[in-house]
Amino acid sequence: MRLFISIFMIYLGFQLLSANAVEDFSVIDKPNDNGGAIVVSWKEMVAETEKNFFYQIMIAEQEDGPFYPLEKMAYPLKGKGFEVKGYNKEGEESTLVVPNKTYFVKMKVLNGDKSETTVSESEIISVTTKGNFFAFNKLNSFLILIFLTVVIMCFIVYAQRNPHKLFVRRIAGLDAMEDALGRATEMGRSALFVHGLRSVSEIPTIAAINILGKIAKKIAEFDATLRVSNWDPIVQQVSQETVKEAHIEAGRPDTYKSENIFFAAGDQFSYAAAVEGIMVREKPATIFYFGYFYAESLLLSETGAHTGAIQIAGSDAFTQIPFFITTCDYTLIGEELYAASAYLSREPKLLGGLKGQDVGKMAIILILILGTLFTTLGWQGFSKLFWPS
């Protein structure tokens, strides 16, 4: 009798299995969301015969129905984490899952043939949706935010107190600047400083003006001539102030001439044409391009190269940098421009920001090296800490 029963049970179990009972069926409120989704999971089915079945999730607002069917899913399918965000009631377009509401979910297995008879059905599980107050799946991003905020702000505060204690490496283009100015003095020719086409409040222009101050001071010491071309009247005014101050600092206020900081033209190509005219006529020994440049960079640096001048450029306009590299003797690339400006001006917000970003970069380098190392050794756990949500 016992044997009979157990054989019967095995037979029943086999029947159930082949009838595709839904196993490990679970329904939960989606975590880390606005309460607008339900996550349905069930055991993934792998058997060959199950190709002929459809799986269908049914959802209801009351326990006794009516149950609204979702789209039929054919084998093969993923049984993990199927998200339900809405369903269609009869005669209505679509209804969204809303927060703070209880839903009743079950799952059906349907025959794959035309009859679509129900083969088996899971139990009904109820779930109440709710919105969450913190996205734990974004915890890594949040911690990085806190880390960067603390590091950058600390460095800025530190730089305000000790602007000269923070170390910034030498930048090749800056070293070359002095030689180039010396050369201009020896040859008895002028130097030309060309501003980029951005307004005075923007970072590349601010950086350019900081560098201009340094150049002007050297020029005043060498007693040479510096011409500065501008396209914006406000940039022109600020540049005049900067150069004047540099002359005073160098103890040569008498050699400052405001007409050397001139307005060339207000629009892109006319600006290029006007500055080119100066290059051809005056043949400056050294030409500097600092700031944000657009397509005019090509016209300017080509003419400059032809007059035989030493050219030094610095720009964060990545599309123009290739042209500067092939036409100029030295080019400050991207962030090097900001670094040069922070290095020369020692302005706390620039210097602190630069150092803070450096710490960020160091952290990224370390994470990448460790992540690559561990992954190569076959352990992904470390790199998974930094995966996006």
């Binding site: 960067l148 397509a295 092939t326 970003q357």
Partner: protein
């Protein structure tokens, strides 16, 4: 008064900055709804401030004309272009400006036959400039410039179909160059751009960077 002029904008920048950050990490439905209405509000603010462009344009060119300063004649053309286009905009093919925009009409014509050729031509001029610079100045003055030029030539040649006539491998080499070494550098630059952007944003939120507010 000093509070209103100097401190209030900094407080507002701080509050709205942290509000945006906080909302990003709260997935709750009320946070989502707040974000939706705030962003919608900012779209409207953005649209309304766009008209400030007229003031900028007019104050610059009106002064030039009034003072008869150099090139003032060109300024009259700017204003003429503006007036003609605006007139068509208000007229709206007879429906006037309080009805939805009517298709075709003067605006489309000016757009297609004046605006379009001007804009398209301005940037195509650069093809000539690049050719001239390529002939006269693009020199491998250093190892670095040399590497740059070689990579440029490979991409320039490998990306046009004529390379396929010479050898199938040239486009593949160009593609490899873009997919791996180029990609690696651009990724490193992305890290730098992100850190730079975050640093600037933090300086704005904490009121250290104030240049966007204009001169004091």
């Amino acid at each position: 008064m000093n509070f209103l002029k100097k401190t209030l904008p900094l407080i507002l920048a701080f509050v709205s900055g942290w509000l945006a950050i906080t909302l990003e990490y709260i997935p709750h439905q009320n946070s989502e709804a707040t974000m939706a209405s705030l962003t919608k509000g900012l779209i409207i603010i953005g649209a309304i401030t766009a008209f400030m462009g007229i003031y900028g344009l007019f104050s610059l060119h009106y002064l030039k004309i009034k003072r008869r300063s150099e090139g003032w004649g060109y300024s009259t053309l700017v204003i003429a272009g503006f007036m003609i286009m605006t007139a068509f905009g208000i007229y709206n093919n007879g429906a006037f400006m309080f009805q939805p925009q009517v298709e075709a009409g003067g605006i489309s014509w000016i757009y297609e036959y004046i605006f379009n050729p001007c804009q398209a031509t301005m940037f195509s001029i650069l093809a000539f400039f690049i050719a001239s610079a390529a002939y006269r100045t693009f020199r491998a003055k250093s190892l670095e410039a040399g590497i740059l030029l070689v990579a440029a030539i490979i991409v320039m040649f490998g990306k046009v179909p004529i390379a396929g006539l010479v050898s199938e491998h040239i486009p593949e080499v160009a593609q490899w160059l873009l997919d791996y070494p180029n990609m690696a550098v651009k990724r490193a630059i992305f890290f730098g751009v992100a850190l730079g952007g975050i640093s600037t944003a933090l300086r704005i939120i904490f009121g250290i960077e104030r240049s966007y507010l204009g001169g004091e």
